[in-house]
């Protein structure tokens, strides 16, 4: 079997006395969607920040496309093809939607004209083509999420880290954006997504890792995870698995 595109190997991160990530390991197979779930405060976004170079790991290593990328800076990783979206969206407020995406497009396109063309194309792919000339700060939450996605796509990544891209969206908005994500995977982009919206995780992800208190407590297919008692306890508390099992008539 080919080496996974991304391997996170026993990464640990301490903040003073707090152990935010504790020996977490995960892999993402090329061309597939992998989900990272877990209760709030589990360390998921911290792990993403470590993978994308914003925070340094205290211990452990990260391999991407066959090379050790531990400790590399965010812009270098972006150039290698790792893109990330932020949990709290961070549009370039003073710029228009088109100009926002343009910044990403410029990574692969030197001249303004070719970058603009690329930005336009990405904007269309993500469904923002009506809004390209609007100021970024006039977008709704759903619009901003799409913009966040568009910018990340504009750098033509091989690996896309989506941090709760569905958070704050209503069900119909989620229904609209899920096919976009699926089509990215069909294009060959490897996706790792942190998500709380379980319906999306179940329908999109092929492999799921569960993080709780900084540790990976389970991994498997969505179906396996859903019935895993350790996972249920992590979300619902001690003894919940047994209670659920009892109420299910087992």
């Amino acid at each position: 079997m080919a080496e996974p595109l991304l391997s996170v190997d026993r990464v640990t991160r301490r903040f003073g006395g707090l152990l935010a990530v504790d020996g977490a390991s995960l892999t993402a197979e090329e061309g597939r969607i992998t989900a990272l779930i877990g209760p709030n405060g589990a360390g998921k976004t911290t792990l993403f920040s470590i993978i994308s170079g914003f925070i340094e790991a205290s211990e452990g290593s990260i391999r991407y496309a066959g090379e050790d990328i531990t400790g590399e800076s965010p812009h270098r990783l972006a150039r290698r093809g790792i893109a990330r979206t932020f949990q709290i969206v961070q549009p370039f407020i003073g710029l228009s939607v088109r100009e926002n995406i343009l910044v990403g497009a410029h990574l692969r396109h030197r001249t303004r004209d070719s970058a603009l063309a690329a930005a336009e194309q990405v904007g269309r792919e993500v469904g923002l083509n009506e809004l390209l000339d609007r100021p970024a700060d006039t977008l709704t939450v759903a619009g901003r999420k799409r913009l966040e996605l568009a910018r990340a796509l504009a750098i033509e990544p091989k690996l896309l880290l989506l941090d709760e891209v569905l958070a704050g969206l209503n069900p119909s908005e989620i229904r609209d954006i899920v096919p976009v994500i699926r089509s990215l995977c069909a294009r060959g982009i490897t996706i790792v997504m942190i998500e709380h919206v379980m319906q999306a995780v179940m329908s999109l992800a092929e492999r799921v890792f569960v993080l709780a208190e900084g540790r990976v407590i389970a991994e498997g297919t969505p179906a396996q995870i859903a019935t895993n008692p350790v996972v249920i306890e992590a979300y619902l508390g001690h003894g919940a698995a047994a209670k659920l099992g009892a109420s299910n008539g087992q």
Partner: protein, 331 residues
């Protein structure tokens, strides 16, 4: 070329002025205003487009002025070469300060403080170092000839500084429409998001500082040639640090013509104040300080930015098909 036509138009209009106006007083006023505009253009690259607010741009102005004056007076270097060397020194200083400060990750207030400190250090050194003439300053020998970059007619000085401003406008425009410019503005808006998109933030900021330093240094070199005297208070004093930041902010931070408009407005206000209340020291700066506070309070994007915003708001209100959805996401 289409992108540069507004600049050509403005320059053409301004170039005609000395042919119509013959008053030396007015020409002098315009020359100084253009010189300040050039210094402001430099600040605008780093502050307006890059979002890094320097409170010590006097460091570049003064370096340009001193380098050109000292090279001419102590080493007999040709005035034009001296001018070029002055600009190069400004660029080098920008690179040095940028390398030191941005690689340390200094931002915001800390960056403002460190630039202030650099300007102060240079001022103190210049006030005691023998090479600058210490407290006495450096006088450039009067030698009215093109070779010595000194001209009898103020009109010629006017066209020289106008040409320099023109160059700075073209450079700014080219930056606006380049990859570097897109990256620079991204850094201004959000450094982390920019880094996630592949932007090498500290290198972009340093490059901006090199360009910024060169432009403001050019302004200093011109000062030396026009006034023929430089001392530490003139070269590195807070007055120029303030004017270099004031003109873009009033005119419009991060806009092409902001510094030019701002310089004309600011200098006009200064002259008006003198007319009304007499030529006492400090009066013009009181007005500048008050205008700075007022602009930040009521129109933080300056005159041009504020006008653009008002224009957009008017358009949106007038166009019938505007969807409400666009407004819901605001704020």
């Amino acid at each position: 070329m289409k992108a540069l036509s507004p600049i050509a138009a403005v320059l053409a209009v301004l170039a005609v002025v000395p042919l119509i106006v013959h008053s030396n007083v007015i020409l002098n006023f315009l020359v100084v205003a253009l010189m300040i505009a050039l210094a402001g253009q430099g600040w605008n690259i780093l502050g307006g487009y890059g979002g890094q607010y320097s409170f010590g741009h006097a460091a570049f102005f003064g370096t340009g002025a001193y380098v050109t004056a000292i090279l001419q007076m102590r080493y007999g270097v040709n005035a034009w070469l001296g001018f070029a060397a002055g600009i190069a020194s400004g660029a080098a200083l920008g690179g040095a300060i940028g390398a030191l400060t941005f690689r340390s990750g200094l931002r915001g207030s800390y960056f403002a403080l460190v630039t202030l400190a650099f300007a102060e250090v240079l001022r103190i050194v210049a006030s005691v170092a023998p090479i600058t003439g210490a407290g006495v300053g450096t006088l450039i020998t009067l030698d009215i000839s093109a070779r010595a970059f000194q001209f009898q007619s103020r009109a010629v000085f006017y066209w020289v500084i106008l040409a320099l401003v023109g160059v700075s406008l073209v450079v700014t425009r080219l930056i606006e429409r380049s990859r570097f410019g897109a990256w620079l503005m991204a850094v201004r808006e959000n450094e982390d998001a920019a880094a996630a998109l592949g932007v090498d933030v500290s290198r972009v900021k340093s490059a901006a500082m090199v360009i910024s330093g060169a432009m403001t240094a050019a302004s200093g070199c011109f000062y030396a040639q026009y006034f023929l005297f430089v001392d530490s208070g003139i070269a590195y004093g807070t007055w120029i640090s303030i004017e270099a930041l004031l003109t873009p902010i009033i005119g419009g931070v991060g806009t092409l013509f902001g510094p030019l408009l701002g310089a004309l407005v600011v200098r006009s206000l200064g002259e008006l104040a003198k007319l009304v209340a007499g030529d006492a020291p400090g009066l013009d700066l009181i007005i500048y300080g008050a205008v700075l506070v007022a602009v930040i309070w009521f129109s933080p994007r300056g005159l041009i930015g504020g006008a653009v915003q008002a224009h957009k708001r008017l358009l949106r209100r007038l166009s019938p098909g505007t969807s409400c959805a666009g407004e819901i996401g605001r704020g």
